[in-house]
Subunit: 102 residues, 6 copies
């Protein structure tokens, strides 16, 4: 259990249940989109929304789901045009941290 | 030329040039991500950012790039969890308009 | 069934199920916050996020849940300082439409 | 009195007083920034935040404060890079409406 | 005087005056909404807008104004649906820090 | 080369090329708006969008482009009304760091 998840479990246990049962137990498992596609759109949304706390974890998940580092680089470049250069710059900084970790 | 593009051409001609030469002429054509993948992330970002003016055009482009209506439905459902129910509700309304048009 | 709900049902039926079962069937019914308090925070969030499509419906729900028109006026004024004057101005416009309808 | 202001006056009269006394009566009148500079930053912020309801009025105010149409075109182009192409596209559409009116 | 307030006082003294005289001296003191209700909507807006710098201080203020930790937990869970899971996750992290401090 | 730029160069080299060639090589150099005006609108947008990672660098650039510290103070105060007090508070904190450095 990641630190972020354990914090949600401690502070808002019902939200932790909903995360486990609905978001990860149901939505992420639906066959209508592959895990790789779900990672693509999640990473894109987190970059666009400047969600710096959650992006590193979902970048790692994206790598696990088969998105390559080069594809993440392309997503960051593409997003610069749709949510602005600053969102891409922060995403690049966080991606470097994730890439450097392994 | 779509109406939106012709308006940009009229009001901000240099931006129209940059759209044609850099965004669509270069970034969208880069081989690092397929057109379908680029449509997935663009649609996801526009839903998350509540960009109601631009989402319909990119939903049509997504359909042209091979994203199915069922996949758009899954993207909307997935985004509800990452950018909130209201962003998904507006996306559903706009998707229905696009789907009903053909 | 409101129009917005029927559109979600048509375009993204699983999201409609989640709305009925989880958001309205579970979260809104939890006793930890009164319905009035839930309306206060939902209206505040929709104003702050400039969610113009969803605010009217939740203003009507707030009135049903016991929030008064004068309290909605205070929320709008308070939000001007936390999310900016433009978000308050749009909220005032939409509140007037809701108030004028009955 | 513009329609937007009269609506705020009707729905949230204290906010209307704060707008008249504090925002327009004090802040906009402070000599630390010229009216033209205040219009530049207000228009930039409204474009970046996708505040479609308030941008037209502030584009007209910017023209009154000495910002030229060509400068508005440059602001829109510049903002495309900082808040994303969609914010610039909507700004261009609204600027065309304002420019066409006079 | 909190650190945040003293910084505003140093960098933007007129804004500090407006905070003291208008926001806290007038708006927060208006009888149209209780202090508890104002804390509910302020916390909701700060969660929804991902305002990580300001949320801890307003969580402490909410506790002072009679909002319980369990109610904050419910607000965070409720907001997950209106502004997205990431905004709730960051709010949970910050709430834990505030709760652990006392 | 700043750290932020070198990170973008490493993670997303094509984005770094676009920054150098298009954003800074072309857009910032266009004569339609002075460098000072471009700094005014960039700083305003970054404050409004709560882009904490990028604001310090652009505050330094603004000082280099002839925007004074007193003018930055006025921009922050002005923005409080258009994007909300929290965006101004974070901008004040970051401006103090930049001002204290030189």
């Amino acid at each position: 259990m990641t630190t972020a998840r354990s914090v949600i479990r401690e502070v808002a246990p019902h939200l932790a249940d909903l995360s486990a049962d609905v978001l990860f137990g149901d939505v992420w498992e639906r066959p209508g989109l592959s895990k790789r596609d779900r990672s693509l759109i999640t990473v894109a949304a987190l970059i666009a929304l400047y969600r710096s706390d959650q992006l590193p974890g979902h970048l790692r998940r994206a790598l696990d789901n088969g998105v390559t580092k080069d594809e993440i680089s392309e997503i960051i470049t593409h997003m610069a045009f749709y949510s602005g250069w600053p969102t891409a710059a922060t995403a690049a900084r966080l991606a470097k941290q994730v890439f450097d970790q392994g």
